[in-house]
Amino acid sequence: MLSDRLKAKFDSVIARYPLKRSAIVPLLLFAQDEIGYVSDEAVEEIARRVGVNPIEVIEDIGYYSMLHRQPVGKFHLQVCTNISCMLRGGEKIFEHCAKELGIEHKQTTPDGLFSLEEVECLGACCGAPAMQVNYDFYENVTPEKLDALLADLRKKDQGSRIKD
């Protein structure tokens, strides 16, 4: 079941678009933020609300790499290996990440804490190599900075788990 909060959000977002179907991508993002990924139920609900066939919503999810059909880790690491980042060592960052976490592209650690994805340009070329963790950007990443970041994220998780 989608929460009432999410449904209310859907209503207000759709109202902002003259053409309902233009709201598909924002709706997907809101759904993903709440559920952690885009569930079948969310697909059906969005399709129904904007008046398209569910397969058209699925097409959009496939097109945008930041939308997920399966749950991802609590921290979703997106490492850019596109041209600017590649020239500045992005691929090494990605490999380092993979080695440290023991997972590959589009995989999640068994504890569900981290997932890794190799992504195209994040629009942060001036700070290449760049990466994104959930919605936060990290620029001029080096293997050392990355290790620190991972440690930091693990700690954050501890904190949140104790609080839970």
């Binding site: 397969i55 496939g62 097109y63």
Partner: protein, 743 residues
Amino acid sequence: MAEPIKLSIDGKPVTVPPGTLLIEAAKQVGIEVPSFCYYPGLSLQGACRMCLVAIEKMPKLQTACTTVVTNGMVVHTDTPEVANTRKSMLEFLLTNHPLDCPVCDKGGECELQDAVFRYGAAETRFLEGKLHEEEKKFSNLVYYDRPRCILCFRCIRVCDEGMDVNAYGIGFRAAHSEIIPNRGEQLECEECGMCIDICPVGALTSGTYRYKTRPWEVTYTGTICNHCGDGCRTTLSVRNNVVIRANNRDHSGLNGEFLCVKGRFGWDFVNSERRLKSPLLRKNGKQEEASWEEALTFTVERLKTILAEHGPGAVAVIGSNRTTNEEDYLLQRFARTVLGTNDIDHHRTADFSSLVRALTEAGATDRYATIEDISAAKSLLLIGNDPTHQHPLIAYQIRQAVRQHGARLYIVNSREIKLRRQSSQYLQVKPQGEAEAVRALAGQAPAAQDLCAGGTGALTALADALKKESDTVILFGDEIQGQTVNDLVTCGLTLPGKTRFVALGDYANSRGAADMGLLPDTLPGYQPLSNEKARERMESAWAAKIPAAPGRNIRSIFEGIRAGEIKALLVFGANPVKTFGLDNAALTGLQLLFVAELFRTETAELANVVVPAASFAEKSGTVTNTCGEVQALKRTMRQAGTRSDLEILLALARLFGQRWTYQSPEDVLREIIALVPGYDIPLPSLLVGRAVPTHPEGRPPALERPDLVFSSRDSLFTSGTLSRYSWALNSVDEAKKPYGHAF
């Protein structure tokens, strides 16, 4: 008519109507512009860039498939630049294409292969490894091979626009883009296979055809689908006496490229293991194999005894909805003149007789609509029936009319049929309310307040809308029969323009069965038996007497058997036990039950004599679709042990000492053309594969009782008894609850 447009293509002057696409204009002067995503009749895509041409005064090459011609346009399709571009486009298309032509189903009829052959792209500058993906099974009938896909989106568009199923999408992005089905890894759809047919390459392949043959190893025969009453032309591909594919290869005829799941995949009953291959004769209570001679002699001897002891009133005949016109014609001749009985009928699935009578009485026998009239109509009124399931081609043509030229579709139905999505007005009436709605529209009887949900206002709105239309095509199902047909015709003819009519009947030759007089009170061509002149005309042609009194209809035949009055029943290509829900005791009083059939049906199981009949693929002749268009079946193959119903009838007549001189189905057809009113059709048109409309004229007697006309309500995946013997039709999940899908 607006002024035509004049332009020049490769120096040739071309004149075409305004709005013509450049690619079509080029075709008219024999210039082929290669294309993949362009497909006539579908929306424009402009995806493949294969059709680029040079147009003077335009800066870059333009896509011929999306450019509309303008006056004075000067186009070049043969410059080095264009040639180079074609080559480069092909090089791109081949970057991930596996080039597995030697094992690809499409090899030999692949548009990509042909284009590479013509425009060349022998070398590639891409050194990266090709992206590979395993093939996917979307359903038992549809497979997808991603590496071969060139992303032309024809499949998506034909499914959305042609079928209104919307089963496909495009998943992912760039080089990873692929066609995705609507239910995760699976398709849930009408399984029509239109997407397979339209795929220019071997990306979508058919579950029944894949990896079975090379296309040049089979023989192709154009014939007519044997399932529903719409009469699609189809080409059967036969190899080693086995049918392995059906598609309308040349896109000719009334269906163009269309075939539904039954036409495209449901022919496999022809090669079913369960086909009867030998006559069966009941001996000591058990059906045992017998020779043809034994079976037929036994039948005739038994018939002679019964006739001698009880007279012709003790013999009845039930005909088929699928056998050819020639066979039906001979069957009623045999019943009336050899057996001397008019107790002959068939399962009537639409009230064709009432339509013919109503149009004749109104002097409007030019108002039978053809399939083409449906697709060209500006206004359509559909009463009852669910064409999506019962008449897939007609449903397709209705959608075409709405989509291609904005036809208005008006629907009166008690069910939420899928075509309501195309309708301008959809009047949902209470169950069985269709006839009442017609009577109210015709001003014969006021409608009850609860007839439709919105009160009777909706009915008035419908009537008003129809009065503003012209040349409306009215289609009606079995819900409308008897006097109501008359009301509908009378009222329809008062609408503006040339209103035309179609009665929607179930099987491949339901219409022919009625036309040919498989009826107890009607001679071929809807001439009432009581009409002395009509009777005498047939009598003199056949040099034999026809009993003047009308015979028993099919319900009375069953009653006659129960009452012990009928001792012998001959059944040709029908399964009345199932169709009419007869109980075990219903036929036990018979001294002879003779059944000519393809399979051991419920009726055949009870018979003393069963003879194995040839299927539609194994015989020639003609069938008449539900619109009254006659088309020719062509024999494609032989099935050892079987005989066509025509051969069976000729043999029976011979054993009765008759000297019938027919040598072939064509001889019978010539007689039909000469003798049957409305069937004076040009033979050559038939032989070249045309659908020839008929205009029957006659005043057959009124419908005796309401339970004589009823549709089987077959779904997309059923076809009376036949579909049980089709692996393909039973292989798809949708068949399990055919009416329950949301697409």
